[in-house]
Symmetry: C3
């Protein structure tokens, strides 16, 4: 059993979660915030059998899109890099996915 | 050290968390949403010693109840299965529990 | 790859997340609640390379402070321990940190 944690853009979360449940996967959604842009995003938790991991990642890749997003003046640049002459945009990926091992899985 | 992640019904979350803290366990609560019914639920995070895992699961099983829940018309059925003649209810378990290994645990 | 989960006080979350992103780490923030005091706190998720784990913990220890916090009368003491003569305060640590192994990490 694996627990997949996928941080996705809010705009893709409904269609991605829906595609996953339509394919028979179980999903739990968390409302989260990106630490850099400080913009809301969604973290999907998907517990699934080891053999299904690649299929879940495949579904996420089909519905989670990369976007360019403006960097708010409040973003945590570091080292006084808030100069207007720097790139005012970042590329926000479709999804940041982490697969963790589940040692015990119980359904009550 | 293990990190136990337990997705429970909102109606059971207060009593389950309270039973856990009264038994000496430490609990963090997250407000989450089920991907299928799109109804709010609660995810409990419990970091505890390996030997305590079964006791935590036991406490959760005592307070987390299985319920029948109506499926909203918005649920992600998949493949055009929104026909009224299908079962309008699903069984929502008391808890979906995942136990993960913690390689390093630090308290500051 | 490791996934670090750090439960921190709300008052430290902005500066801690900012210090982490300024140092080049990626952070996702979750609004959570302590199961004992039933007060809001923040859980930071930091996915990072194995070798960076200690540095992340070091940054967290610099910005996450221990505090004394009054125990609300609603706290889950257990066994009728709500007697006024008991200590009305608890020490809330700067951070409770859990490091978990990530078997697969994909960015889409
Ligand atoms: N310390 C830093 N220095 C310079 N640029 C930085 C940075 N942290 C983030 N960025 C850039 O800003 C975008 C948004 O990051 P944010 O933290 O708001 O939102 C992130 C965060 O919530 C989450 N995330 C990504 N990788 C993560 C990781 N390793 N651990 C935890 N959360 C992660 O996924 C969202 C999208 O990340 P993505 O990498 O696609 O896109 C990132 C990246 O292009
Ligand atoms: N392996 C897993 N990974 C991540 N989260 C998990 C999980 N197993 C359970 N959960 C979480 O626990 C809630 C209750 O799941 P349960 O399986 O008891 O009860 C489920 C199940 O009876 C049914 N269901 C869920 N997903 C389904 C799907 N893809 N196809 C058919 N029925 C589904 O609807 C009920 C409510 O599901 P909902 O998603 O709203 O809410 C789920 C979800 O938030
Ligand atoms: N192993 C773990 N697993 C999951 N989450 C964890 C955890 N250890 C700490 N946390 C999270 O970090 C917060 C601060 O915990 P700390 O142990 O520093 O500070 C704690 C501790 O001094 C005390 N406390 C917590 N649970 C207790 C219990 N069952 N019995 C007696 N005292 C407790 O009350 C303070 C606030 O606790 P609260 O639950 O509101 O909030 C906790 C909880 O949200």
């Amino acid at each position: 059993m694996k627990l997949i944690l996928a941080i996705v853009n809010n705009d893709d979360s409904a269609i991605a979660a829906s595609a996953l449940t339509e394919a028979g996967y179980f999903v739990t959604k968390l409302s989260t915030t990106g630490g850099f842009l400080m913009v809301g995003n969604t973290t999907l938790l998907i517990g699934t059998e080891d053999a299904e991991t690649d299929n879940v990642i495949d579904i996420l890749s089909r519905y989670c899109k990369t976007r360019k997003q403006a960097v708010p003046s409040t973003a945590a640049f570091g080292n006084g890099l808030s100069n207007e002459s720097l790139a005012p945009e970042v590329t926000v990926g479709g999804a940041a996915i982490f697969v963790m091992n589940v040692e015990k899985n119980v359904k009550i």
